[in-house]
Assembly symmetry: C2
Homo-oligomer: 332 residues x 2
């Protein structure tokens, strides 16, 4: 059983994962992205090599855990957190821990082993975004969960352990600290200005254009003013929405379009970089809120940074967001 | 001129570094650790290839910027921040920026190109730790600076751009957010318990022994209860001190001993890993404080993590600190 432990100084929770327990000699393997002997558990025909599917987009009449799918959601075989059990909190002297309850799912975005996201047809991207919404809607009914993290690691440098394109979902009994801080910061702004800080950013980015990457009728993509990373790009709905799971099918179609456009631009500008993206959305425990605005943050992995940045929260970005946006705008 | 920009949501400052400005095609080079044609500007005899030295440990009678040294401190040739100029704050619509005033120095820890820290003689390590203290004492007199970051990147995976062993110092006109949060968290604890949280951790770690790596009369090394990274190890003075620059020569000798012991253990347990260490000390602006306790955090770079962790503040650690400490204790 994994354990959630609280940092007594920063109040941040950490997962100590026993399912994935690693001894000193195990760390070499972490860097490998290839499956053993070219075998991939996410390929079409290997459905019995994953845990039972939770959701799939399938041809009519095809059976669960059998061929005939174009997208599958399965539990992570080596989950950081497990869904069974009760949520027990206890102390250990001055320290606090909690049992590692949660869900850890893998979204296998396509059955085609070598298809990368920038080469997805629009329907595939729409299916991926639809799946994120459906999984949040479903997991929201489990009252033990307070937050759902959805993210994608693409490429070995971004932490992907399997080459076959996939995203991950982690449902948590706590709200991650950076989410808490974002909520707190945007609430402070709202109390002072009586406006959503993200809506204000959107207005300024559209007016100034310098950091604008692209936009369509529903969404905007820009490089944030205080970008931590070169070519960091944010994708936001232009109108105010706090919870991703409220997005309509039409909105998701519009999002799929701009998402593929942005990933394609990054791919061409930076020669197929490894990247991460993370959905930032409101906690499950809140209703529609006026001060928070869901968005995706896309981060190409271009610089090798490590403990220093984590230890300080201090980032040195060698490419200004204005330069980055200008490069990205030039790419058609 | 570099620019400090404030994240309007998180209140975190970022450096946009124009001295190091990178275009899309420049990012391949970042990963190279070798100097061009085997040339190293930090080697003995190449003193004229760095900016003028600020401090050096030299044989009696040898001249500045000439051979005869065993340790040199020089300004970073491509500084993230520059020391000249005034500190101007200004707005840009809803955003805030500040001119990038600061110092960025390199501590060349030895003149021997291939000597790594784990193979330092005790005197070399003592000289390094003494130099950190002297540079803080000197820069503290410049009232524009609020905080000094001292850190080391060892190995390409940890972000070292030159192989020759060195540490870095950045003097900042702001306090980095993680430092602010640590100060805030430990102050809250102090107000509640009327005890230093770090002193309490030391007492519990000595009593429980499970996470203890090693100790001597002045210092303790342990793997923290909520370790973010496998084999993350902290080094703290056993008695309460808030500011590193107050350490006596005797303390630094004791620290040099335990530091080399811990780095040596990590080196042997993990087969010469890349690592970062960061000095966490109190801001320059405060006098001795009861609630904060200076320490070093040492982080081997074993897992590939990226934007996800930065985006969420959420870490999954595959090796419990109890296991890590047990491996490290076994190594003599």
């Amino acid at each position: 059983m994994s354990e959630l432990r609280k940092d007594p100084i920063l109040g941040r929770w950490i997962i100590i994962s026993t399912e994935r327990s690693k001894r000193p000699s195990d760390f070499d393997e972490t860097h490998s992205e290839k499956s053993e002997n070219g075998f991939c558990p996410f390929d079409h025909g290997n459905e019995d090599k994953t845990p039972h599917e939770i959701l799939a987009i399938r041809k009519d009449g095809s059976l669960p855990d059998r061929p005939g799918w174009s997208l599958r959601v399965v539990p992570n075989k080596f989950p950081a957190l497990k869904i069974e059990g009760d949520l027990n909190r206890e102390g250990n002297g001055m320290y606090d821990k909690m049992s590692g309850i949660g869900a850890h799912e893998v979204i296998i975005e396509t059955s085609e082993h070598s298809r990368i996201m920038s080469a997805f047809p629009i329907q595939t991207m729409k299916d991926v975004l639809w799946t994120y919404r459906e999984r949040i809607r479903d997991l929201k009914r489990d009252r033990r969960f307070k937050y759902i993290l959805i993210f994608k690691n693409h490429g070995a440098a971004a932490g992907a352990s399997l080459e076959h394109t996939h995203s991950q979902l982690i449902a948590l009994p706590i709200i991650p600290i950076t989410v808490e801080e974002e909520l707190h910061g945007s609430k402070d702004y709202y109390e002072y200005k009586e406006r959503c800080i993200f809506c204000d950013m959107i207005r300024q980015e559209i007016a100034e254009k310098e950091r604008l990457v692209t936009q369509n009728v529903d969404f905007i993509a820009f490089t944030p003013y205080a970008s931590r990373f070169p070519f960091e790009t944010w994708l936001l709905p232009r109108r105010h929405f706090s919870h991703y799971e409220t997005a309509s099918d039409d909105m998701l179609e519009s999002l799929a379009n701009i998402f593929l456009e942005v990933i394609g631009k990054l791919d061409r500008a930076l020669d197929h970089p490894s990247f991460n993206f993370i959905l930032h959305t409101s906690p499950l425990t809140s209703d529609q809120i006026d001060y928070y605005h869901w968005h995706f943050e896309i981060i190409p992995v271009l610089t090798k940074v490590a403990g220093f940045e984590w230890g300080t929260g201090f980032f040195i970005n060698p490419t200004s967001p204005e330069q980055a946006a200008s490069y990205l705008r030039e790419i058609s």
